[in-house]
């Protein structure tokens, strides 16, 4: 393990959280201090080799305040999110433990939450999960014992009241920063802000959105979020990602649930010779536009199988503007 893995060590063990905080999460600290946060998604390997995780994490760790470990997203089987989190905390990173309600019931999930916290995880992201039908094993039994909101409320109860949902006492409650997802660019558009309000009510302290490619639609959503005062109650981190090619964009749009990419974006990709470069450029522009929208507290970069471009994108976009970067050679 090289030293690069040891940049952002979080305490493992029980240390009381400072006043005004709910966890030891670096992400929470960045957000509460008013800085523009950057998170990034790690694509889970199809292997049992920890080195695969460290390799993927390295370029993300250079720029990200937290690294998301996905939980079989798209209902495809990969290394588990808790496994990745265990590796990442061991290497000094600050992971976001994603929990999908699709694969495990309330008994398994509550146990895993304690396990994750014990491993030094301080961020969780509560997700409903895509249907099993879109994944590589459509014959699997969908669980959905919780939905993302009941999951949020359950973990909040575990954290703040020190109790399982059954009422049994937890001797050392987990200290976790609670997150949820939102997808502002898909229907029912009118109700998305209400749904967000409900997630805040259930316990969400930060939100990571799905891919945003449609800025006008997102701005409309954010205007309603601000009208409802929600931007004061929850940190909103907008999701972005570089598209590899027009074909990939089309495929994603029709095969991955919940992805909205407007035609002009795809047309722009079609016109250029180096679509991958163009995809990066579009992503950088999106981050710059998103940064200017009031009420947005950060960006979440999801670069499918292209972790190496994430740090370029973030640095070029100026998302970390104002933060000092020192790199003695």
């Amino acid at each position: 393990m090289s030293d690069a893995h040891r940049s952002e060590v979080e305490p493992i063990g029980y240390v009381p959280v400072p006043e005004g905080y709910v966890s030891h999460s670096r992400l929470e600290r960045v957000l509460r201090s008013g800085r523009f946060a950057v998170t990034a998604e790690l694509n889970p390997p199809d292997s049992a080799d920890p080195e695969d995780v460290f390799q993927a994490a390295q370029p993300l760790g250079e720029v990200a305040d937290a690294i998301n470990a996905t939980d079989a997203s798209g209902a495809n089987c990969h290394m588990s999110s808790i496994g990745i989190c265990a590796l990442l905390t061991r290497a000094g990173y600050s992971p976001v433990y994603q929990i999908s309600c699709r694969d495990r019931n309330r008994i398994a999930i509550q146990g895993d939450v304690l396990g994750a916290a014990a491993l030094g995880v301080s961020n969780v992201l509560c997700l409903t999960g895509d249907g099993v039908g879109v994944g590589d094993q459509p014959g699997a039994k969908p669980v959905f014992d919780f939905d993302s909101l009941t999951l949020l409320r359950t973990i909040r109860t575990m954290r703040d009241q020190g109790k399982f949902l059954s009422g049994r006492k937890i001797t050392r409650p987990p200290q976790l920063f609670l997150g949820a997802a939102e997808n502002p660019c898909i229907p029912p558009y009118d109700w998305r802000p209400d749904r967000l309000a409900k997630k805040v009510e259930a316990g969400a302290e930060y939100i990571q959105t799905n891919y945003i490619y449609d800025i006008p639609l997102f701005e409309k959503f954010m205007a309603r979020v601000r009208d409802a005062g929600l931007d004061k109650k929850v940190f909103i981190i907008a999701g972005v990602g570089p598209i590899a090619s027009a074909r990939a964009a089309r495929w994603m749009r029709s095969n991955v649930p919940g992805i909205h990419i407007p035609d002009p974006v795809i047309e722009r990709m079609e016109k250029v010779e180096k679509p991958a470069e163009e995809g990066k450029k579009i992503c950088i522009e999106l981050i710059q536009q998103i940064r200017d929208i009031a009420g947005v507290s950060g960006v979440h970069v999801m670069a499918y199988r292209r972790e190496h471009v994430v740090s370029d994108i973030i640095l070029e976009s100026g998302a970390l503007k104002g933060r000092k970067r020192a790199r003695p050679s």
Partner: protein, 193 residues
């Protein structure tokens, strides 16, 4: 039936109204149910409930009905059985991610809720996860029984100490026992003045 389900959502306001009266009726029948025994009426009432609600809402008899908080759109028809709003995969035109031929149950729910008098507020409340042990039982009976019990408790709490000291007398000789805080009538209104 899918068509009837859509109809029910379009007329969510009417159903809200009907539900209110059915509920009041069942609460009023509490003493009767209690006499026969709640566990004896459970089966027949669950059967009726199942028949009516399956036809109208494609009810799955989860045993903990939340229709009045979900715009009369039964959330058990959501393939992910979400209880608190649409997932992030709703397709263009508000169709379901998992069953593309079906309208998203939760898009319909919000639509139905906006037509109801109280639905718009109720849909904003976070509902608990489904309790699987209740599957198949009658939620009508559970609700009316609970409301009846609450009303009884509220009434008891309002009674005077004297009344609370002689609970049997109230059951055996309600009119002879001067026990309850009397409802307003000509005599005690006079006294107050």
């Amino acid at each position: 039936m899918y068509r009837l389900r859509l109809f029910a959502i379009r007329h969510a306001r009417t159903f809200e109204w009907i539900y209110k009266y059915v509920e009041r009726g069942m609460v009023a029948m509490d003493p009767l149910f209690a006499k026969i025994g709640y566990n004896r009426v459970e089966r027949p009432i669950a059967l009726v409930e199942k028949g009516v609600k399956t036809l109208l809402f494609d009810c799955k008899m989860c045993g903990q009905c939340v229709l009045s908080s979900t715009g009369m759109s039964c959330p058990m028809n959501c393939p992910k059985q979400l209880r608190n709003g649409p997932c992030g995969g709703v397709r263009p035109g508000e169709f379901c991610e998992v069953k593309p031929d079906m309208k998203c149950v939760w898009a319909l729910a919000w639509d139905g809720a906006s037509r109801m008098r109280h639905g718009g507020d109720k849909i904003k409340e976070v509902l608990p996860p489904v309790e699987h042990t209740l599957k198949g039982s009658s939620s009508w009976l559970r609700v009316s029984r609970e409301i009846a019990a609450q009303e009884r408790d509220a009434m008891d709490a309002a009674r005077e100490t004297l009344a609370q000291a002689f609970p049997e007398a109230r059951e055996n000789e309600p009119s002879a026992a001067p026990l309850a805080a009397e409802p307003p009538n000509a005599v005690n209104q006079e006294l107050k003045k």
